[in-house]
């Protein structure tokens, strides 16, 4: 591949991800509004929020690590997007593979954790402690699912995983071939989004939004950017693993939005679990489904 082409891809992939991510945020808020019989925010609301937050006149920093944390939170996802193939663009997906992608997706959390840590606010620290606990909860089913898919495809290369699914049309989709893994993956994905009933680390009424408690202005803005990336990455990863990726942009985006709509719709119907209940739930049902699913695959 020509280097220029590659560079263009590397620039375009995060950009697309950001824009799609913003729309996903909007969709999420609209779904919430619809479920609560509200009108919901206007179309550009996610953008308004981000611009406003970055345009604040006074911003509170708790030190250099606080700043770097936000940079890492954004930068980690920007890097992760280049490992996530989209129709027509593979970026450097072949040089990392799915395991690298999963680990790269932890970098933003780590950055955020560091930044929050320096804020010296116990709410934030509790939030991070809970976020990491939640990660421990949902990553176990997630890696089971990833193992199953990668093993079935015989590769960790996402491009090839997508290609094998697209080879035989609908029948070769991961969700059709490995329905149990797909279900387990959906639950894990839901939890990884940190939405109700799994939003133990935000818990506004309990720990004052946890990690975000000391974040204002561009700090919060960075986290909003990160959130849109997160929604995009999660749903696209699921689509790549189970729904055959996308042949065209249309069906790719359709699948991504639809997949995201499922957990989001469920989310606003539930209150919050306690930490140990989240753990118990995650370690029981999706893990069980995932292991049975792997047994079928092997």
């Amino acid at each position: 591949m020509a280097p220029l082409e590659l560079i263009i891809e590397l620039v375009l992939m995060p950009l697309v991800a950001f824009i799609v991510g913003l729309m996903m945020v909007l969709m999420m808020r609209r779904i919430a509004a619809k479920l609560q019989r509200r009108v919901g925010p206007p179309f550009f609301q996610p953008l308004y929020d981000i611009v406003k937050l970055h345009g604040k006149r006074t911003q509170v920093s708790h030190g250099m690590i606080h700043d770097i944390g936000i940079v890492m939170a954004m930068g980690g996802y920007i890097a992760a997007e280049t490992l996530l193939p989209v129709p027509g663009m593979n970026g450097i997906a072949e040089k990392g593979g799915i395991i690298t992608l999963l680990y790269l997706m932890m970098i933003p959390s780590l950055g955020l954790a560091l930044g929050v840590g320096q804020c010296a606010n116990p709410n934030g620290s509790i939030g991070i402690a809970r976020a990491l606990t939640a990660m421990l909860a949902y990553d176990i089913p997630l890696v089971i699912v990833v193992f199953g898919v990668a093993y079935a495809a015989g590769t960790t290369n996402l491009v090839e995983i997508i290609a094998t699914q697209q080879a035989g049309g609908f029948e070769t989709w991961g969700a059709v071939q490995m329905p149990l893994l797909a279900i387990a993956g959906l639950i894990a994905m839901h939890a990884s989004l940190g939405k109700q009933p799994f939003e133990i680390y935000i818990a506004p009424a309990e720990i004052a939004t946890g990690p975000m408690v000391e974040m204002g202005g561009k700090y919060l803005g960075g986290l909003f950017v990160m959130q849109s990336f997160q929604l995009y990455t999660t749903s696209v990863l699921y689509v790549s693993l189970f729904l055959g990726g996308g042949t065209t942009w249309f069906d790719f985006l359709l699948k991504s939005f639809l997949v995201l709509a499922i957990p989001v719709s469920i989310a606003y119907l539930f209150p919050r679990y306690r930490t140990e209940d989240l753990l118990r739930l995650m370690w029981k049902w999706p893990v069980m489904l995932g292991l049975i699913g792997i047994a079928f695959v092997m």
């Binding site: 590397l10 954004m74 920007i78 280049t82 680990y103 840590g117 709410n123 402690a129 990491l132 606990t133």
Partner: protein
């Protein structure tokens, strides 16, 4: 008789011991010893062709004792481990010989003994690594054990108790190996590797089982494999700072070295795989893999509960050993490379972490995670080193720990071992949790009033730490450098070699190129920074200007969340910490106590003579009739 390069190295090492012994009470002793380690390292680097597939270098020293031939030689395997040993010794000693040493002396520590113990450790490790037959291996093994004991016990008090526990475990291990060696000797008629190789192919299953159990238990104890892991954390944690950096980096890897040599090279994974456990679906190799995995999980989650930084790190040291063994017993090209590479990577970040923690202790006087916090503004470089170290330990990109773990994961995927894979990932997740606790409770959060005026660690300590941090990053960026050495190690022990590149590994079923990954990661950070820093300026505020639900914070309020850090998690799993292994250890100990009491009773009874004599007569009668 000309000296070979190996002779030179061992000679320098011996000289180091002598210098530490006789000149160690002079003031610049630390520097002298450090320079000598440097010379040793140079001498080792002269053997660098070994790391790229060169022929083994023998020592001219060959002993004939009691009908046994003892010989020593260096091959790629020895060279690789020796490189790590000398590297960590050089940096730990460098770290020790400046201000740390003065403080240690003021606190009543024995600097002479410290340097001597370090030099002895290095010397004995080199002897072990150079062993050319099973008997010289055992001799080296014992030397390493006792040298380690010296270093662990020298701090006195709690350290000595921990060291006593260590030496008891180590003796159990040594005796298992001793027994194994005797069995091997009987069946092979010699303790030379060649003879053993031929003998192994003719061994019956029970015999092989016995040997595998004895050797893996014996070597495993040194590695802290389950269920023999209890000694390690307290012993390493209580060793004086640079000593624990050194021990944590390399000491217990001697067990891995021996496992590689004996179980992988001599016995062969294929033979081990042929040992089926009746009535189950698993064989001896799976058993080892599961032991490795439990060694990853349990100590890692024990680490999470520690409230002392050094204990926490030491527990992780045990857990990381599991990854190495796991990779090795999976034993395909990638897995073995991952396991071996992890030895190097672990040594770098573990040494860096112990050093950073020791720097904190040097400045604050405590490693209690509940009594620190916010130090990042006072010790930013130490923070950076610790950060680099924990990213390596947790196995996240862009540091080197990621590469080795990635290789291990890949091999588990290739071999189709889902449960092991998941278990290994659980270990990694647990590691992330507990290292965040480490960095948060020391460096992040609220700075305590009493720490407001502390300084960054002195440069004599800082430079080795920074060098280590650089190594961690560079070998993460360019894993091809150590992978070349690893590849020749794999060749030397008869394993297949992965197709490695400078940036990672090429494979038909998914490659890794760290140069690209790190490249885009930093590009991402760059873009993030651009967005962030162009967005209007911010102002640093005092840590007391903080959201507290409208409460006014003052300096006397401890506003730091550190104790029982993962409270929610512990709600669920807290009850799962049963201390079963401690219980097991205790019950073995009390069993021995009980038997001991009984035996003493036999000897203490007033009129035991008649009673025993008649028993003796009874024995005679029984035999005769």
């Amino acid at each position: 008789m000309t000296l070979t390069l190996l002779d030179e190295l061992l000679l320098f090492s011996g000289v180091t011991v002598l210098v530490a012994l006789f000149l160690g009470r002079r003031l610049p002793a630390g520097w002298m010893v450090t320079i000598l380690y440097g010379i040793q390292l140079l001498s080792l680097l002269k053997m660098a062709p070994l790391g790229y597939g060169g022929d083994p270098i023998p020592s001219t020293l060959i002993l004939e004792v009691m009908g046994q031939t003892l010989s020593w030689r260096f091959d790629a395997l020895s060279w690789y481990f020796a490189l790590i040993t000398l590297g960590s010794a050089l940096l730990s000693s460098w770290y020790a010989c400046g201000e740390w040493e003065q403080r240690f002396r003021q606190a009543g520590g024995n600097v002479w003994l410290f340097h001597l113990a370090m030099a002895l450790n290095v010397f004995s490790m080199l002897i072990l690594l150079a062993s050319g037959d099973l008997l010289s291996l055992f001799i080296g093994w014992e030397l390493v054990s006792w040298a380690g004991f010296l270093l662990m016990a020298m701090a006195g008090g709690v350290a000595t108790r921990a060291a006593m526990r260590y030496i008891t475990y180590a003796m159990v291990g040594a005796m298992a190996i001793f027994g194994g060696i005797a069995l091997v000797y009987v069946s092979a008629g010699s303790l030379q590797y060649d003879a053993i190789l031929t003998a192994v192919s003719q061994m019956g299953t029970p015999h092989l089982w016995m040997l595998v159990i004895l050797f893996s238990a014996g070597f495993g104890i040194k590695m802290g494999l389950m269920p023999f892991h209890l000694w390690q954390a307290p012993a390493y944690a209580e060793t004086p700072g640079p000593g624990s950096a050194f021990l944590g980096a390399i000491s217990s890897r001697m067990g891995l070295f021996a496992i590689l040599l004996v179980l992988v090279k001599l016995f062969g994974i294929v033979n081990i795989e042929s040992l089926k456990i009746p009535f189950t679906l698993i064989d001896a190799r799976d058993l080892l893999a599961w032991i490795a995995v439990f060694t990853i999980i349990f100590p890692t989650f024990t680490a999470m509960k520690q409230n002392d930084a050094r204990e926490l790190l030491a527990w992780h040291g045990i857990g990381q050993g599991g990854y190495m063994l796991l990779g090795l017993v999976v034993a395909d090209a990638m897995g073995a490379a991952g396991g071996l590479l992890h030895v190097f990577n672990h040594a770098t970040y573990q040494a860096a972490l112990f050093m950073a923690v020791t720097a904190v202790i040097h400045r604050t006087g405590t490693s209690d995670l509940n009594k620190l916090g916010g130090l990042v503004v006072r010790m930013p470089l130490s923070f950076m080193v610790l950060l680099v170290g924990i990213i390596g330990l947790a196995g996240l990109p862009p540091m080197n720990g990621f590469v080795s773990k990635w290789l291990v994961y890949r091999s588990l995927l290739n071999e189709g071992m889902p449960l092991l894979f998941v278990a290994a990932v659980i270990g990694t997740l647990g590691t992330i949790l507990s290292v965040y606790k480490l960095i948060h409770n020391i460096f992040l959060g609220q700075l305590r009033v009493e720490h407001e005026h502390i300084k960054e660690a002195p440069w004599s300590m800082m430079i080795p730490m920074l060098i280590l941090a650089a190594i961690i990053f560079i070998t993460g960026l360019l894993p091809g450098i150590p992978l070349a050495w690893v590849a020749s190690v794999q060749e030397a022990v008869g394993l297949s070699v992965p197709n490695y590149t400078l940036g990672g590994v090429e494979s038909a079923s998914g490659s890794l190129d760290m140069i690209w990954v790190i490249g885009v990661l930093f590009a991402g950070f760059g873009i993030g920074a651009l967005v962030f820093y162009s967005a209007g300026k911010s102002k640093r505020v005092h840590q007391l200007d903080n959201y507290a639900g409208g409460h006014f914070l003052t300096a006397d309020i401890r506003y730091q969340y550190s104790d029982n850090f993962y409270a929610g998690l512990m709600h669920l799993i807290g009850g799962w910490y049963r201390g079963s292994f401690l219980w097991l250890e205790k019950s073995v100990k009390s069993l021995v106590e009980f038997l001991s009491l009984g035996m003493q009773g036999i000897y203490r009874r007033a009129n035991a003579e008649f009673y025993l004599l008649s028993t003796a007569l009874f024995v005679i009668a029984w035999v005769v009739i």
